[in-house]
Symmetry: C2
Subunit: 702 residues, 2 copies
Amino acid sequence: MLKRVRLLRVLLTATLLVSGLRADEGMWLFSAPPREQLQTRYGFEVTAPWLDHLMKSSVRFNSGGSGSFVSADGLVITNHHVGADDLQKLSTAQHNYLRDGFYAATPEAELKCVDLELNVLQSIEDITAQVNAGVASGLDAGAAAEARRRTIAGIEKASLARTGLRSDVVTLFQGGAYHLYCYKRYTDIRLAFAPEQQIAFFGGDPDNFEYPRYNLDVCLFRVYEGGRPARLEHFLRWSAAAAAEGELTFVSGHPGRTERQLTIDELRFLRDVQFPYTLRRLKRLEVLLANWGARDVENARRARDDFFTVQNSRKAYDGELAALHTPTLFAAKTADEAALRQGGAKPADNVALAGELARIAEAAQRQRELLVLQRLVDGRRHEVFFAPDGFNCDSFALARTLLRVAEERAKPDGERLEEYADAARESFELELFSEKPIYADLEALKLADALGLLAEELGYDSPVVEQALAGRSPRERAHELIAATKVREVAVRRALYAGGAAAVTAAKDPMIELARMIDPVAREVRRRWEEAGEVKQQAHAAIERARFAQRGAAVAPDATFTLRLSYGVVKGYTESGRAIPAFTDYAGLYARSAAHGNREPFDLPERWAARRGALELATPFNFVTTHDIIGGNSGSPVVNRAGEFAGIIFDGNLQGLALAFAYEEVESRALAVDSRGILEALGKVYGAESLVNELRRGRRSE
Amino acid sequence: MLKRVRLLRVLLTATLLVSGLRADEGMWLFSAPPREQLQTRYGFEVTAPWLDHLMKSSVRFNSGGSGSFVSADGLVITNHHVGADDLQKLSTAQHNYLRDGFYAATPEAELKCVDLELNVLQSIEDITAQVNAGVASGLDAGAAAEARRRTIAGIEKASLARTGLRSDVVTLFQGGAYHLYCYKRYTDIRLAFAPEQQIAFFGGDPDNFEYPRYNLDVCLFRVYEGGRPARLEHFLRWSAAAAAEGELTFVSGHPGRTERQLTIDELRFLRDVQFPYTLRRLKRLEVLLANWGARDVENARRARDDFFTVQNSRKAYDGELAALHTPTLFAAKTADEAALRQGGAKPADNVALAGELARIAEAAQRQRELLVLQRLVDGRRHEVFFAPDGFNCDSFALARTLLRVAEERAKPDGERLEEYADAARESFELELFSEKPIYADLEALKLADALGLLAEELGYDSPVVEQALAGRSPRERAHELIAATKVREVAVRRALYAGGAAAVTAAKDPMIELARMIDPVAREVRRRWEEAGEVKQQAHAAIERARFAQRGAAVAPDATFTLRLSYGVVKGYTESGRAIPAFTDYAGLYARSAAHGNREPFDLPERWAARRGALELATPFNFVTTHDIIGGNSGSPVVNRAGEFAGIIFDGNLQGLALAFAYEEVESRALAVDSRGILEALGKVYGAESLVNELRRGRRSE
């Protein structure tokens, strides 16, 4: 469910910062900000109130992305591509909000989102000792994984009961530490404004991850409590001056995943197994959806968010894999690991470390053998960018959830699959009972393709494929299942959920029965996968201790889709000898469209062509910074020293892809929309005066 | 080099004709036409002059497709999508003939094709005994394969010397028989007319392999001899009446490949290994080219033919694989093979047959292990539809040819790789010295992608990948190689070809050196692949004898991109309960475009919008028939009893995909453009009066 910020292919010509800490590196924990670096490099003092205010103004979009409060009346700004999922769900054959945009001049006109959950972080607690204490030493990997899961579920449940807040235990440093994050949840979220996708994603797939750019990639929602706009203590004031070149700024958001602490063997696993599988899966799906969408306009509308999501993920993974195919990156990583191997204070330390690395290598080898099956039949993996699971349709996902939740709820909380723990119940029910539209034709298309893939990857004669196809062709089987299942009806899902295992069994729903047939294999492959994961976590904990002993604590943990603070400056760069300026403006937008004959994907919405004369063309539109960001940071605010909103992150450049594996600041850049450009467009192109006033004043006019 | 007729996904609900011979089945040899079936079913007598006239009026496009002479002055008609390759090569940034079309009002205005070779069959000779006599019994598979190659090269060379005709030995019945085909070659071919691709391929990828259709998928070339339009004795007269529903007609063309005689184990190999690999390769390339083409108009033009070819192949292979995923097809094939296994006159016959089937199973297993490597590093496999080879760019292909031809020409003719045999020299030089445009940017794009694929499929650390990348990332390596190699200059190729191995070595061309590094692995995998192939050919020869003994000779051999005769009738069909009429007309074209708001790919060329009033809208445009066709039949004439041109095959419907594996005539249909529709468009839309007159009269007006 993590969204896909956008990163990149890459030419890694610049020096990689593999070890140690330099420059503007780091996605820092709010509980351990880089006070010293900020003081030394920028003379900036991080105060507790400043940090607390920024934390409570930052918003996590659980559909995968970041945002921030920008008014006392609950207004949230994020990217258009983060809101796209919700725009898609709100759209109908009559109103294509994702393509055409939306504006509510008053709160009454705002549209309630179907199943969006926003989280606002309230507290962080280090519970490493407590988690590790729950895992007795000497347990085998399977038992240890189970004990750890049980301990974590217990901590989360107790915290929820105590605080009433969503309580998530987060694994940091690949297993080196565990923290408890408590969030305020919002589930009544309404759409206030979205531009046309054409201007939000101007340049489309060709320009994605490129710079210079001209994207109005923003979307405004409002959080409600008790049926009224929420009254907020913490929100970001709008900066009229935005950020100047070279000025220190901050990004507060939810980077989804980095892999900087992985060992060489784990990186090889990503390079040779996981990314290639994911990419062939995505490219297959991209071709399927492109072809289906070209058949008619309504198809294209139904598949619109899926299609853009797949394209974006494909370009991101292509870029990340290209980074892993860059010899300099592997050389630097290898040198760093070699130094670590030899850096212990005593020879025995080095022997112990070698043992931990070998355990990881062995576990990675086991995951090599499991990956494809795991993705196909279990498939619930957190990824920064979208990676479809095996059956790739809502009907199957809902059927499996109904099946599993009925089985899992009968067990003690600590023994369940983690996604069915009591602490996750509210979020999980929101999803299960979502009224989002599910289109049978698109479902059948995707399921038929998924069943075909299953046969191609596992071999048509394999037992799992035989079970899944039940003597039909993939296409026939998919159409039969989609036509016969009742799980797309919310009332049916509510009844089955309430009725428990007996009701689910009695329903004899063919999609649920398919899930039931597959489940033993799915659970077994997950068990083996998690066993290998436990081995890696334990080894990483030991490696982190060794790294700390050798080098101190100055490194931020890998990203985990939890709130982090990055710092950096607005700064242009050089690409293939060409100087790329830091800012673009509206004049550049019109010039680029004209250079492409206003042809898709460089075409402008009608409104933009018509209002050109009204716009101040020199208004800054997009800019680039050195912040350390990654997928999931989409929608993060760029904040100045005063804690004001100066812009919003929406992408990284191509060179920035390598940030998944190592920080680099010569060519890698974060891309943002300028706060001035946003106001100019809201006012002069969309006539959204009520929003312009609210952003300027920090609250609605009464 | 075989072109991609177009076939399909499929719902195989109808009965498959797996064994025996019924209905209109069969791609018949011109040397063994289905006299009895035609007499019995249709009361038609096949005479030798009728057959000879049709054979010599039929044209093979070596770029992959079929055509026919339609005037005494050398005019050849084929499909637009067969001519697309030549249109692409003739196009420039200024003239996009592939997209915009072309018309020469006089021969002087015709455009000479860059490297097109047309073949017209003159004779067929059964040389099975001679080939088998050249392979001593008791040889191991490697030696047998070599002996067979040597024997064939000798036969071809002697025939070329004797007749002056292109002489190809064709392997029939998967190894059951060998025939010698002698062709008249034409290499001075000029473009006379092409419509806009929009109308030739109206409906684009979504409508490809669908029906009803509205495609003016035609293209007119003229063959020249001695610098003047060739004067022909044999050509097809244009039928003013075309073909009526239910009327017996014939298709004379070059079906590329069918797999009807494969064993179950060979079909499993296609289903589980070859087709999945090919499809992931194609989808990867489709995504790459779509994205690059979207970046700007000139990119799109450069990649245009590549892109459509890839889309077409992807849809075709997707359809063929879907047929193999249909349980009824496998059930029928399995039952047939079981019957064959038990059908021998004596128990010993059955034991022997079982042994042959087991040998094939074992060889197929070996090819399973070789396929991916073979495709990546050797990759010269004949396919009906396009399947990219490992390095996927002209620069590498030319470099490898220069390397290998220099090495091979030093050997006796019979010991060379078959494509460098003396008998193939003229055709091969035509290709090597082609002046076709090769774009460095597109080359680098495709090579970078191909090198990335190599790393993904074989593992980044594999020795082949290390050699290929030479310490660079795929992208860097590709750009360096493409920038540094000189093989894109025709003069350089001519000089290196003339200079032989010494000159090739002295050139130190980095692309040739890459080919040299890879060559030992490539040759070794080819050797092992062909060894397995020899085992299969020998076993198939034995199986064919057994089949003949049990069932007689009434089956046509699998397609081999050589001239075949099919018979059938114009006939509508029923799809999902809906009656699909046999004919479409121009009124239907305009209606379909309007139904899609004239949006791409359902948009009409300007000329077609403007000339609508001039057209007789009831003119038949496309029609469907029961002919047994497959990829490679694209451009084949549909001929009536009188031997007149009534239409031209351009596609099959989705259900027709299964024809690769078994004939079916309830739902499978061949698609054709009506001769009346062609004339109407030439005259009233394009004002191509000179061509209309020539087609009507059978020769040019002087």
